[in-house]
Amino acid sequence: MILILFFFLAPVVITAVMGFTNMDYRFQWDFIGLGNFYRMANDFLVPKILVNTVVYTFGTLAIFNVTFGLILALLTTSISERVGLFFRALWLLPRFTPPVVYAAIWLWILSPTKNGLLNGIRVAMGLKPIAWISEFPWGVIIVTNGIIGASMGMLIFTSAIKAIPRDYLWAARVDGASWFQEVRHIILPLIRWPLMFITAYQTLSLLTSYEYILLITQGGPFHASEVWSLYAYNKAFSAYAGTYEFGYAAALATVLVLIGTVASIAYWKIFRFREMMAAPRIEVS
């Protein structure tokens, strides 16, 4: 418990308080009231980063974490069990690969020189190499994060699909339903809760994840792929800017927590999670 208190509760409080100070590498508590928040409102980068965050979060969420996760779950449960298991394991692998190794693989695939995979193929076809990462920063961060993110939805949807009584599917098949009709009219309505849960949970995860962006694009070129959490990280720890603006970064992080909280409440209301909670799933008292 002490450990938890120490590494969760204390940091949360310290971050919140630090947001009102002008702390830098000297670590002094100079309170400047709402100064950091005024600065944020006038920071010319903030609107751009806000747009980036929204595009990145919902783009990745819509294309990969939910849609692609669902497609993978549907396909791997429709083919033979052994092959399905193989593909699920394959998609799970990136999640357990150390982030630096995963980034290394992508840096090779997307390399701007002719030694990378995609440009190697272009050169072989007689075309000029393209600097993929600086040409398509959004595409790059969405695809690289999405491939990791899809596995979570895939696993949860898979177990939800497997929990559907087989009789329903057999009955549909006897009645002459095609695979698409089966999916549309039986599977999708029955896995409604997991779908909503993944949407909500992964929104929060994506809002706050920046590890892979930091490694692959570093937020560049010129902040084109910088999201809110990465911006806060760079303000505090960036090696090349060398600013160590802990106070401002803490204020940015606090705002991010607020955004996350608002998003959770919105999801709670929209998806009516209370109804799901009504089913006694977890014993708490």
């Binding site: 120490f6 590494f7 204390a10 699920r88 998609w91 630096v100 190794v101 696993l155 959490s229």
Partner: protein
Amino acid sequence: MAKRGFTPGSLQRERRKQRLLRTSMYVFLVVSSLPIIVGYIWLFVGAFTGNLVYGFVPEEFTLKNWSFLWKPPSAAWPNIWRTFANTVFLAAGVTVIMVVVSTSAAYVVSRMYFPGRSMILASTLILHAFPAITLLIALYYILRALGLLDSLWGVILVRAGLMVPFGIWVMKGFFDDIPWDIEMSALIDGATRFQTFWKVMLPLVKPGIAAIAVFAFMAGWAEYIFLVTFVRDPNSWTLSSYINAIIGNYRFTNYGLLAAVSLFYMFPVLLFFLLTQKLLMKVTVGGIKGGR
């Protein structure tokens, strides 16, 4: 409109349609998995060849990429084996702390009643939702105050601390599944509470311990963000920092070295993964893995 009914023709057509659907499923899966498949194959091929022609055709077999094993690629870098030992130390430290703390805490919340119990359970769930970035800045401050910056102990404590709520929830599930009667009979036979826990309960939750230990080890082994933020001293580098430095110094140039060190780093993960992937899938569904 084709005539309905079970004529041989319609059955055949139906079967052909089924086969087409199935084939297209396989094709889709293979094509969409290509980036992953190709990427991991590259780790193996790239590590043992010089420059690849057109980026993907191997030319000759060579071991020169592996020279980092006895000679650091840059004079300022530490010996790879020291880095390796640091990585093992980090992963093992995280595993031990996380398993001990979450197993004992889970036993307490699962079996004993005390005021504030439900609050503790709820708070572990809420805290789980706090993003690492909000904690990172404050943790930097705390570690600095404790003098644990630039030391692996700081990273171990932070990583273990962040994983403990997850561990408590998983282990609580395992303890809840053990009937009270077993524990009662041990107590009636004169065992103390601690003996019951140690000799009766622990052996029964071994699968749970194995599961969270694997998780903690993999997380510690792969740790990146806390490491590059809190630890700058090359003597405390782990393999993550090592590869990070390779990416930083030889970005887009020395792919052979990058692949070789990555493969070296990945090897235990691959081994672990192949042995435990079924277990991992189950636990990932049951509790939710930290980070993402």
